[in-house]
């Protein structure tokens, strides 16, 4: 068990060290969520005046939740890029050789993704508050929102890791990015679900991310969130993608 | 073909880059029509810069040169019409096939439309690429890319061919094939070949005359035989049976000539006399109680010539000395 911890910690440390000391990794991870927050909350704020749009905390908070979850998800995808790059440049072989229990490697990457989500999420939260975001939920609600963001991060990480373990090349980047992008954007991004029109509404209704983002918004507004349902959906996805990632890891081990 | 205008004449050629670095520092050169002329030197000596200038892709800072009878500065277009060049990079589009490269090159070189396909196929056949003609270049091996590069340089029947390190990175068979084709071009088609290389063997085998360049200067020129004859004396390499005795061995052999740099554990000397000195050396070593496990006597090589002229061995030259900066960083002085 202590070896598992050691390996996971070592992988976590290296990933976070590279992330925080390389401007080419760190800056886009910070800038893009801030940019999306600005573009969506700033540029589209009048959408909050659409008849039928009734969100107690205002449009800024409405968009903050989406951008927070989006940043958490893409942090997981970028962790997947890192895994693929490690395989492509041979570093992963070093990890596989050194770890008695290779699942610890996956655990290390996942922990790193969660840490990354905490860093980016905190920064985003501070900026949102400075721009005047209203938070009408209480501390428990906000903890729930943080929990949801971490679950989303883990889900995306496990999905991307599974792809990376199988493909073992950075060329698989689009295969990690596109599905996550589609899941995120085929959800109520700009307006609540009942104001989404056309086929997107039909897709959003069955999209598991919809319940997560709507619950997140309810949490920040402090209005009857379906937290348990959202958490159950997220945990279900995590279980599914955990299997996906671990099977991918076994394939990578077998490939040598 | 007018043999008289197949030559290259260079006088006082200089190329200076930003920061005052002179990659080419006043070289004079004459390449006779129809000959294979090698330009030999280590990395960063100024070989490629010289080729870029003579092929009109880089203006000189000072000096003059005439290629195929045309001035490289004032008559650049005429120079380009008379020469072909296969430069250091194979310069191919990975997404085009060999045949498509030919089609593009024949069109750009003004080959009449009716002749393009035939000319392209003829050259592809000549360099052994007909079977791969319709494959994308990204699937070609290094040797195949070099051959295609050479074929493209010959599309318009140039009188002078510039080859910049044409066999670097090739396997021995591909290298031998390239040498055969270059020799054939000169012998059968009368093409003048100006070839840069860092491989001694290549210059020795192919070239009728060699110019050795170092730090932008020509330090020696002549036929391979005359250059080696200048040095004249063979080199003896002695490997002691007991590596610890290497210094003692060197002290003994030094009595018979000039010590020269050798591989670790080996003592080497350029003999004052010739092979007749061997018996005396063996007796001297025996008198000192020194046992040997190997004796090698080498005739003078171009490496010895380079060593004699520059104090360094060409084959040990793995640092880039006086490296000329990339052209995009350069500003003409």
């Amino acid at each position: 068990m202590s070896r598992f911890r050691d390996v996971a910690f070592a992988v976590w440390w290296r990933t976070i060290h590279n992330f925080t000391t390389n401007p080419s990794f760190l800056l886009p991870s910070i800038i893009f969520p801030l940019f999306f927050f600005t573009a969506f909350a700033g540029g589209l704020s009048s959408v909050g005046n659409v008849p039928g749009f009734d969100f107690p905390s205002g449009y800024t908070a409405f968009q903050f939740v989406f951008v927070l979850l989006q940043a958490s998800a893409f942090g997981g995808v970028f962790t997947g890029f890192g895994i693929a790059a490690d395989f492509e440049n041979g570093f992963a072989r070093r990890l596989l050789l050194g770890a008695p229990n290779r699942t610890a490697i996956l655990a290390g990457y996942a922990l790193a993704a969660l840490t990354r989500a905490v860093i980016i999420g905190s920064l985003l939260f501070v900026v949102a508050l400075i721009t005047g975001m209203k938070v009408t939920g209480d501390g428990v609600d906000l903890s729930g929102l943080i929990g949801l963001a971490l679950l989303v991060s883990l889900t995306a990480t496990l999905f991307a890791a599974g792809v990376a373990f199988r493909a073992r090349t950075i060329q698989a980047g689009p295969a990690m990015q596109m599905p996550v992008f589609l899941i995120l954007f085929l959800a109520p991004v700009f307006v609540p679900l009942d104001l989404v029109a056309g086929w997107v509404h039909a897709v959003a209704k069955v999209n598991p991310f919809t319940i997560i983002v709507e619950t997140g918004r309810d949490l920040i507004a402090g209005t009857n969130p379906h937290f348990l349902l959202a958490a159950a959906v997220a945990l279900g996805l995590i279980a599914l993608f955990m299997l996906w990632a671990v099977r991918g890891l076994r394939r990578a081990e077998a490939a040598g | 073909m007018d043999q008289a205008s197949n030559g290259i004449e260079v006088e006082g050629l200089v190329r200076e880059f930003k920061g005052g670095i002179r990659a080419v520092d006043g070289i004079d050169l004459e390449v006779r029509p129809g000959e294979i002329h090698a330009f030999l030197g280590p990395n960063g000596a100024g070989k490629s810069t010289t080729v870029l200038i003579l092929t009109t892709l880089l203006p000189p800072t000072a000096g003059t040169a005439r290629v195929a009878g045309f001035d490289i500065v004032r008559e650049g277009a005429k120079v380009r019409g008379s020469i072909g060049a296969a430069l250091q990079e194979a310069a191919l589009d990975p997404l085009l096939t060999g045949r498509e490269h030919m089609r593009l090159q024949t069109a750009l070189q003004g080959v009449p439309k009716a002749d393009r396909r035939r000319r392209g196929d003829e050259l592809l056949e000549r360099v052994g690429l007909m079977d791969a003609a319709d494959r994308k270049v990204r699937g070609y091996s290094g040797g195949m890319k070099r051959r295609l590069d050479l074929a493209l340089a010959l599309v318009h029947g140039p009188r002078i061919l510039f080859l910049d390190e044409p066999t670097t990175g090739l396997d021995p068979q591909s290298r031998a094939d390239m040498w055969d084709e270059v020799a054939r071009l000169a012998r059968d088609d009368g093409v003048t070949v100006f070839l840069t290389t860092q491989y001694l063997e290549e210059a020795d085998v192919l070239a009728e005359r060699i110019a050795i360049i170092d730090h932008g200067h020509i330090v020696a020129r002549g036929t391979p035989e005359s250059l080696k004859a200048e040095i004249g004396r063979p080199t003896l390499e002695v490997t002691p049976a007991n590596p610890v005795e290497r210094d003692a061995v060197e002290n003994v052999v030094a009595r018979f000539g000039t010590p020269v740099t050798a591989s670790p554990g080996v003592a080497a000397v350029r003999l004052r006399g010739g092979a007749e000195e061997l018996a005396g050396i063996v007796r001297a070593l025996d008198a000192e109680g020194l046992a040997m496990c190997d004796f090698q006597l080498h005739a003078p090589t171009l490496d010895d010539v380079f060593l004699a002229k520059t104090g360094r061995k060409l084959t040990e030259e793995d640092e880039q000395v006086g490296e000329a900066p990339e052209e995009e960083e350069a500003v003409a002085a």
Partner: protein
């Protein structure tokens, strides 16, 4: 010269068509985003003063600009690759005129962009897009779209030739992506609530490019919008082509 341009254009088209990653995303990605935005923002048409009846009519202009960004990357990356592989030196050894290389390369990108634009229009019409500009509006819209593509593609060519690096070209994508977002891409300028955002969108030339194309679909023939759209597109193309030509002169040195 015409033959040289044709040869280089042919090569440019072949290069693009042989890389599915350069063909499919520029077509699919903008349409996908538009579909998502139409579903998600259709409610915005209920805002007082919203100029279009459907969000589709409002948003269909955006894929044309997004397609231009892809054209920028494609043109720039292709020329950067030519510099990196030394292919540009091979071309320099031929009688090919510099202008032919640039025009040919850009022609190839324009042909692909024309195909994409026709697809965007086709999808728009199939989805019930309104088109008050009438039959003559289609070629006029395509002319403006191609002028915009020329502008962005030549900017990409400038970066590709100047840097000789595909990575540097890719590095410009986020910059222009941001410029696209900080415009009247998602809402008309007069409905942007945040003053600072509205100010940026007002000074951002990309707003006028989008509004120029949008005007054919929302208003028909709006003189002011077309004048601004064509004006900025022409300026962009002039700057881009000049920059690319100067960069090519430095890159394709010949005596």
């Amino acid at each position: 010269m015409i033959e040289q341009v044709a040869q280089m254009a042919r090569r440019s088209i072949l290069q693009t068509l042989r890389q599915p990653a350069l063909v499919i995303p520029p077509i699919l990605f903008p349409l996908m985003l538009m579909a998502v935005n139409v579903g998600g923002l259709d409610a915005a048409t209920n805002l007082p003063g919203f100029p279009a009846d459907t969000y589709l009519d409002f948003a269909i202009a955006v894929p044309f600009l997004q397609g231009s960004l892809f054209a920028m990357i494609n043109a720039g990356s292709s020329l950067a690759r030519d510099v990196e592989t030394g292919f540009i030196r091979r071309l320099a050894m031929t009688p090919m005129q510099r202008a032919a290389l640039l025009v040919g390369n850009l022609s190839g990108v324009l042909v692909v962009a024309l195909g994409s634009s026709l697809i965007y229009l086709g999808v728009g019409f199939a989805a019930g897009m309104d088109f008050p500009a009438g039959v003559l509006g289609v070629p006029a819209l395509l002319a403006l779209a191609m002028l915009i593509v020329l502008g962005f593609a030549s900017l990409g060519a400038f970066v590709g030739l100047r840097s000789g690096s595909g990575e540097a070209v890719q590095g410009f994508f986020p910059l222009f992506f941001v410029a696209l977002f900080l415009s009247s891409m998602s809402l008309p300028r007069n409905l942007i609530e945040q003053d600072w955002f509205r100010t940026i969108a007002t000074y951002n030339p990309v707003s006028y490019l989008i509004e120029g194309i949008r005007s054919f679909i929302v208003y028909g023939w709006d003189g002011e919008a077309l004048a601004l759209g064509f004006g900025f597109a022409t300026l962009l193309a002039a700057v881009g082509v000049t920059g690319a030509a100067l960069a090519l002169r430095t890159r394709l040195v010949r005596t």
